[in-house]
Symmetry: C2
Subunit: 796 residues, 2 copies
Amino acid sequence: MDAGPDTATRTGPLSREELAALDTWWRAANYLSVGQIYLMGNPLLREPLRPEHIKPRLLGHWGTTPGLNFVYAHLNRAIAARELDMMYVMGPGHGGPGPVAAAWLEGTYSEIYPDISRDADGMARLFTQFSFPGGIPSHVAPETPGSIHEGGELGYALSHAYGAAFDNPDLIVAAVVGDGEAETGPLATSWHSTKFVDPRRDGAVLPILHLNGYKIANPTVLARIEHEELEHLLRGYGHDPVFVEGSDPERMHQAFAAALDHCLDAILEIRRRARRDGVTERPRWPMIVLRSPKGWTGPKEVDGLPVEGYWRSHQVPFANARDDDSHRKILEEWLRSYRPEELFDDHGVPVPAIRDLHPAGERRMSANPHANGGPLVRDLALPDFRDYAVPVEARGTGSVESTRVLGTFLRDVMRENTSTFRVFSPDENNSNRLGPVLEATARTWNARILPDDDRLAPDGRVMEILSEHTCQGWLEGYLLTGRHGFFSCYEAFVHIVDSMFNQHAKWLRTTNGIDWRRPIPSLNYLLTSHVWRQDHNGFSHQDPGFIDHVVNKKADVIRVYLPPDANTLLSVADHCLRTRQYVNVIVAGKQPQLQYLDMDAAIVHCTKGIGIWDWAGTDQGAEPDVVLGCAGDVPTMETLAAVEILLEWFPDLRIRVVNVVDLMRLQDHTEHPHGLSDREFDSLFTTDKPVIFAYHGYPWLIHRLTYRRTNHDNIHVRGYKEEGTTTTPFDMCVLNQIDRFDLAMDVVDRVPRLHPISAYAREYLKNRLVEHHQYIRTHGEDMPDIRDWEWGRSGR
Amino acid sequence: MDAGPDTATRTGPLSREELAALDTWWRAANYLSVGQIYLMGNPLLREPLRPEHIKPRLLGHWGTTPGLNFVYAHLNRAIAARELDMMYVMGPGHGGPGPVAAAWLEGTYSEIYPDISRDADGMARLFTQFSFPGGIPSHVAPETPGSIHEGGELGYALSHAYGAAFDNPDLIVAAVVGDGEAETGPLATSWHSTKFVDPRRDGAVLPILHLNGYKIANPTVLARIEHEELEHLLRGYGHDPVFVEGSDPERMHQAFAAALDHCLDAILEIRRRARRDGVTERPRWPMIVLRSPKGWTGPKEVDGLPVEGYWRSHQVPFANARDDDSHRKILEEWLRSYRPEELFDDHGVPVPAIRDLHPAGERRMSANPHANGGPLVRDLALPDFRDYAVPVEARGTGSVESTRVLGTFLRDVMRENTSTFRVFSPDENNSNRLGPVLEATARTWNARILPDDDRLAPDGRVMEILSEHTCQGWLEGYLLTGRHGFFSCYEAFVHIVDSMFNQHAKWLRTTNGIDWRRPIPSLNYLLTSHVWRQDHNGFSHQDPGFIDHVVNKKADVIRVYLPPDANTLLSVADHCLRTRQYVNVIVAGKQPQLQYLDMDAAIVHCTKGIGIWDWAGTDQGAEPDVVLGCAGDVPTMETLAAVEILLEWFPDLRIRVVNVVDLMRLQDHTEHPHGLSDREFDSLFTTDKPVIFAYHGYPWLIHRLTYRRTNHDNIHVRGYKEEGTTTTPFDMCVLNQIDRFDLAMDVVDRVPRLHPISAYAREYLKNRLVEHHQYIRTHGEDMPDIRDWEWGRSGR
């Protein structure tokens, strides 16, 4: 099935008429693409091009666009012929003009944006708005109908496509992978998604590797390795590739149509064998390699330099069309080469041949319901999280792995939502104590299974691959097509997807302003194996900075929670699973830890998001001497321990303990919708008393969130300050001075009325730290009174 | 050459004696590895194991360790036999006990750490210190001799290995790739480094893909695809793989020795053909696939569950050896299975057979000079950066692409350092205007080259692949082996390597405390195509948050510079290229921009890092009415324009302009070595006057850096607040309220003595913004008086 360079043949599956129709549609899409990049007037070329018809700033990417349009035309033929439910993911999404042109040709664009009517006036506005102030972005974007894939950062086309396909058994996702994109790490490993898709319960992904040979300025690796090597590579990824290579449109139409027919036959045969015949062997999924010139059908040469087929086609092939008569002439010839007079009638409406090519209604890829997941979303059927409550006999006692408790809740969420909920993890599901979900379903696995394997199955819904990128990409695709998910990750290594988070947050933010995009389920992160308990791994695994990264994004799409124990974690998780259109970051430890709140108290506390823990403090409603703030499980424990130490020395000290679950409560309410008003903040933290704040992450974030508060100058924050190694849990606190003794010293230093005896207390506290230091270096573990310390046993 | 499962043969290249020696060394390394994980006493098992001999907290990773030791033993044989210059990169670096054991056996460990002598006492300390408070980390770490590769985050083994090999023609870097790590995106694409290595001028990388079958809790993808698929995949990456598969030590020794001989012969033959015969065709590099059991030679079964060959071997195979007699018995039997009495003499010194296996001196992999780049570093031969100065006729005039000027300097750095300096970029070198370097060298490219290609050659030293991960990994490997480099990247997408930056910064921080690690050249980033000028790409390409991410790391290893024009950029770049042991982040635009400082002034300004621009302000040494701070090229321009607008309305307003090049000058000197003292800060920003600060990135970073300053409450910061799309350059400023009119309004609002006429001024400024808004939506570009505005033409 290898057509080989220039061997694409005239003899193919297309009749003369079909071929002509395809080519007409393609010409129309290409014409509209060039028009978007260059024109702000004279859209139908009813008169010669004049400078004022050309945009003053030419911004956009032509190079990849004709290829995207070519594939679009062929997919349309197949959808119509086979009545397929098909989505289109464009990896090289900088080719934004292409899908916009297609949506306009299909009528979808005018349905969604009535001012961009499908006629000459609308075409004029279509052209002008592109990459124009007040208009639309130059890339495939949330504004583009039919897309779930922002065309900004490269690398996620395949993982998004698979995410869309999971649990959508009738769907086929055509995914164009650019040969530039193919060099990125995330893309390179996402080919292995072939081992995580089940032909029985999932849809299919049809990758189309588009070799157009060049990136911005360099050739691409996959276009320059030997044919045999490339075929090896793709077979190694689990695919059965078909090659379509050349540049002559007629031959290429025949070859691509044949290849597509072959692939769709193969996909339908795989489905039939899996679903009717029960074949469980992993199939070799078909795919297409399309090798065509970059900037195909564009100008061959400008100013004596080759353009079509070269990197010079990448963005705007020539930039002086407004001022340079010869360039403008090239542009006009280029536009006229598509014969617009054959494509659009006198009113600028596409001719029937074009309107007839595309499928109708929701079969149009620009109107495929999966590409706008919001309206498809159904609420999760959630069990009552209170049923999973941990009993708390006495506050600050016990030894519970909070995330394991969460696992039992997620297990039942999984049981009650068998086709709309998955959990994702980079080989850390069990390590993160979410193992209970495996009682409800297996791990997704379609590679070889051995007898001793634990809970692996093709139709499992716990998705684990040692690639944070792939997990995140799958999850994004799953959410964007209207389903729900949960991503658990080691806290330090979630930075691997910092940039993917950025793009998703920007997508959410933008879609908040797009009416026809309805809200989608939130992206829920559980960050665990966190900075304070990396006993096995040490310094390289210690980084709580994802929170800092997240809060740089728009307040209306981000939420951060630090539940201190199991019941608060359950309450927070239940809340997050019900939300839409957020990124929820939950940070919670997986190691055995003290429990503080029974379920009723946990619900109240989480609903407020922040609150005074009367039972832990001694202020009893009066103005305190000092406020101890805390956020995060380990800081909370150390804060309570510090209270006990302080009360031994200063029994009448009025201490207020304020625990923060919802971090954004700290910020001003004008900055974040969850933010406290100044009055509320002051009522918790006072306007003039010292505040010692023990925070899970980098301490300056608390300053950043509170710098406008009245009492900010009195807030002293302890947190992680990049001190760490493989040591004991308590020593991690000591190294970063967030331990109970240091916190107590901070109080002693800052409350004036303690000063008469503060020197003695300080001496004592310092000695305790010396004692700790000596003990761990001898025994290799924390002192028993630290290890076994419980607040609830102090008897207060 | 495929030995196939269980077909490894007794007939192999090893004599009886060689085989015995190899196996003895391997047993010793394994014994020492298990000892490190479990023991804190009785290291030579001279008495039965008792509970107090076992560490109370068992932390470490056994699973991958015996495989790493096996390979180490065989590499040693080859090094000795062939007198090779060889380094060892361990992708599964959580197998920390292995290389520590090897270094101790080779004597290097005791040379570096004299208290860990090569005898029974030293062995006792060797065991105890591992993963113990005050001891060494559980992973391969900076503390481990012979390593440049922290064993924390997975994915960078191959890119580090190639980075080490570039420009080291005699070096062979053996790189073990774990099959877990192989699932990560960065690793998956780094195989394509085969197209970027030149057998003439570079060393060779010998990848050893170690299939031990399991990750933490899951099987690995590459171990569970069909043999044929795996072979396809590796051939697709450009390799010629040899398979060694099995578990019987004797057969495996023979098979691996044969495979290694074959690969080394092939590498030497490739070198010979390239260097002597001038063969330029890209070779298919040999590699080894080693399939061996996870936790090889460990206990077969514990508590009735299989351990050797399963994921249960991943960390500590059984954890109750201290308290559970039967577990302790298993441990003792396991340790004795290595027959320690044959391995160490009465004093605990390794027997001669072991000492004879490893090569001597710097041939020992644990002592290979390349693995400790610091002592190898030679200063760059730097041309005088002043020779590249841009003439500045009048301050605030001109239209210069500053990064292109930098490109001319880097071009000559490249010319003068032909084997110790490379530049790296993800296909953005020309886009970032560093094209001039291509006058000095080509792009590195060893795949197919076509006649119209632009500056591609196998021995080029501009390294471009569309993978930020691979660029960063190569560069890290290059720096860690003592060379110099420069990484240019789109500002938004450098977040792709956030996590890699973390690890490198942690490495630098840790090595600052390790005497025998000498300082290495700094990692220099140029972030360009920045947030304010993403004309082609819009919202997805706008994120200035890498600076925020960087400043979370220890102050002693990070530096951030925002030079506002070409001459300051040259001065900063020259400085950065001379530094050691930092991560330098330089943010500078690539679009034509105003120039402010001639070279003499630029040098003075950059040396101070922050300063009053007298010529731009009107305070003339007196106390100002308002301070306008600025950091970054676009904010600086808008600030100066705001000054002009203000002076039109308020000619006697005393404005002070403070420009910041070295961002960390803002921080307190107790927090960052570059930080200003409070007195210095106050002398610039006053103690009570309003400060309007226009900052390149997210505004809250300025608050974070200055929250302790006396005048902090009066500092009002403008910056990027996640507003953006594809629009005009000035409109980007307007959307984020950092434009000249908004800045002027900020001043008007905050200087009390302006209030009498501030309402009129405000009205005027608002009208200008409305006018702007209307203009760009009609014309698609900024108003001429914005586009062509120059400070220097105002005539002041």
